[in-house]
């Protein structure tokens, strides 16, 4: 098992740069982070982009599709979207895009709040190749391989440890 250290701040900078054109197009765009990792990333992006509207946070625990398998997340907290979602351009931020199920839950929850004008998906890391739903991110900090597992710690400092599975000897 190999562990790689990732420079998260560099990735945030890169994503900030990629988000700027979008904000030029929709100056009033609002940001939502998915608790917990996505919220940390969103906080950094929110700060760097100097967005004026408060950051929204959603907890998708109530919307997970595996409730009947794993039950309720014990640290569940209420979602907090301090503005009206209706007709807004949203930037949805998560830490890792993997099967796509989290994003599905998040979209469902967002639509329970109202009908946004658009949703742009932003993710720090993208474990490509393991998608179980037809969802892709618009902005990706860094692509990974599906086999790479990782651990995100935060919020200060934000750190990612990536483990590569050891090469299977023939």
């Amino acid at each position: 098992m190999q562990e790689l250290d990732i420079d998260v701040n560099a990735l945030i900078d890169k994503m900030t740069a990629e988000l700027k054109p979008l904000l030029k197009k929709h100056p009033g765009a609002k940001m939502i982070g998915i608790r917990t990792g996505g919220e940390w990333i969103a906080q950094s992006l929110h700060q760097q982009l100097e967005l004026t509207d408060e950051l929204g946070v959603i907890d998708i625990s109530f919307y997970r599709d595996d409730f009947s398998k794993i039950g309720l997340n014990p640290t569940i907290k209420p979602s907090h979207i301090p503005w009206d979602v209706e007709d807004q351009h949203l930037i949805l931020v998560d830490d890792v895009l993997f099967t796509g199920r989290t994003i599905r839950s998040a979209l469902n929850e967002i639509f329970d709040f109202g009908r946004p004008a658009s949703v742009t998906l932003v993710t720090l890391l993208d474990r490509k190749g393991c998608r179980e739903l037809p969802l892709q991110a618009d902005i990706v900090g860094m692509p990974l391989k599906c086999e790479q597992t990782l651990k995100l710690t935060g919020p200060e400092p934000l750190k990612v440890m990536i483990s590569e599975p050891a090469e299977v000897s023939a």
């Binding site: 907890d59 109530f62 919307y63 409730f67 009947s68 398998k69 794993i70 039950g71 979207i81």
Partner: protein, 349 residues
């Protein structure tokens, strides 16, 4: 000779987690806090409203009301709908069950209709325990009031309200006034307050409306309301039923109000920031003065919203615990299977 002091707690599963909610007696602080915390997460902090969530989609909940109660039934139904469960409500008059079909036959019939949870209201103390003992293992029972025994969700919502208004329940002095003897709500409230380690629980009422051994419930008894209200943080009023006058337990509504009614003057004896609660429906001028019921210290209406969130929390926690238990058992089985197959391989060598 060994006295069997505690009954086995049939409401907990093998992992010590809530399987049914029949009474608060025997539950630990962590069980109550989990419910209160989860309830919190259902309430939108901005609007104080409760959003619908798809948590219990595909689960079937049956509300069995053997004793009619529109109010309790409605709050349960709203809670179930906000969790996206499939629901069915049945008013089952006891007379009908007595006519031939036994209570258990009724239950098993309904169980055969793919119910995952029964919410039960019944006029007999212990009815919820009885049902819990006889349902299939995958079916959960939630007590919505049984006789004079328990009404756990009502008490939990009161705790939720107190916590919202006063912070930690630990360190609070709480006075409960009125018909303590016949009230399932009070019994559950007292248990909840003891589990959450309230500093002092007082019950105030005439001897005819108090149980023979109030001390067994861990409370201090006051027959004088003025004395009992001194310095309390929370005042809980209990509804006075008409039957109490008929069975000569108290003389009249008028006299009861004179002796135990909560007036502004009396409320002034409590702490200045004390809150006033009432499970409703209120008898104005019998147990509580209108000025108090509608006054600044009253939290009576807020209790209703919280009731929905608390019931949602209880139902989702029970279903969640069942899911986790099933998952753990499946994993256990898989491990055992793997061990067995390994052993077989070993054997083959």
């Amino acid at each position: 000779m060994k006295a069997r002091l505690t009954a086995p707690n049939i409401q907990l599963n093998e992992q010590g987690k809530l399987k049914h909610l029949l009474t608060l007696e025997g539950l630990k602080q962590q069980h109550l806090l989990e419910i209160l915390d989860t309830a919190e997460s259902f309430i939108d902090p901005n609007s104080n409203k409760i959003k619908k969530v798809p948590l219990l989609r595909g689960k079937s909940i049956m509300n069995l009301f053997f004793e009619p109660s529109t109010r309790t039934r409605t709050t349960f139904e709203i809670a179930e709908k906000r969790l996206s469960a499939d629901i069915e409500s049945l008013d089952i008059q006891t007379s009908a069950t007595k006519k031939g079909e036994s209570l258990l036959d009724t239950l098993w019939n309904l169980q055969a209709m793919q119910a995952d949870m029964f919410v039960i209201r019944h006029a007999e103390s212990g009815a919820a325990h009885f049902f819990a003992q006889h349902v299939a293992p995958h079916v959960h029972v939630l007590n919505a009031g049984d006789g004079q025994h328990a009404h756990p969700t009502q008490a939990l919502l009161d705790m939720f309200t107190i916590r919202k208004k006063k912070g930690d329940i630990f360190d609070l002095k709480v006075a409960i006034i009125g018909d303590i003897l016949h009230s399932r709500v009070v019994r559950s409230q007292i248990q909840a307050l003891s589990i959450l380690e309230a500093r002092e629980i007082r019950v105030i009422g005439p001897k005819t409306l108090l149980p023979e051994n109030p001390e067994a419930l861990g409370v201090h008894v006051y027959h004088d309301i003025e004395e009992g209200l001194q310095d309390v943080d929370v005042v809980i009023m209990v509804r006075l039923q008409n039957e109490r006058m008929k069975s000569a337990l108290i003389p009249s509504e008028k006299e009861f109000f004179k002796r135990y009614g909560l007036t502004e003057k009396r409320l002034a004896l409590a702490k200045p920031d004390a809150i006033v609660m009432h499970p409703g429906p209120i008898n104005r001028g019998v147990e509580i003065d209108s000025a108090v019921a509608d006054g600044a210290q009253s939290v009576i209406l807020e209790q209703v919203t919280y009731g929905i969130a608390v019931r949602m929390a209880v139902m989702s926690i029970i279903m969640s615990n069942a899911a986790q238990l099933a998952q753990q058992q499946a994993e256990q089985q898989e491990r055992e299977f793997n061990l067995e197959s390994e052993a077989e391989v070993e054997g083959a060598r």
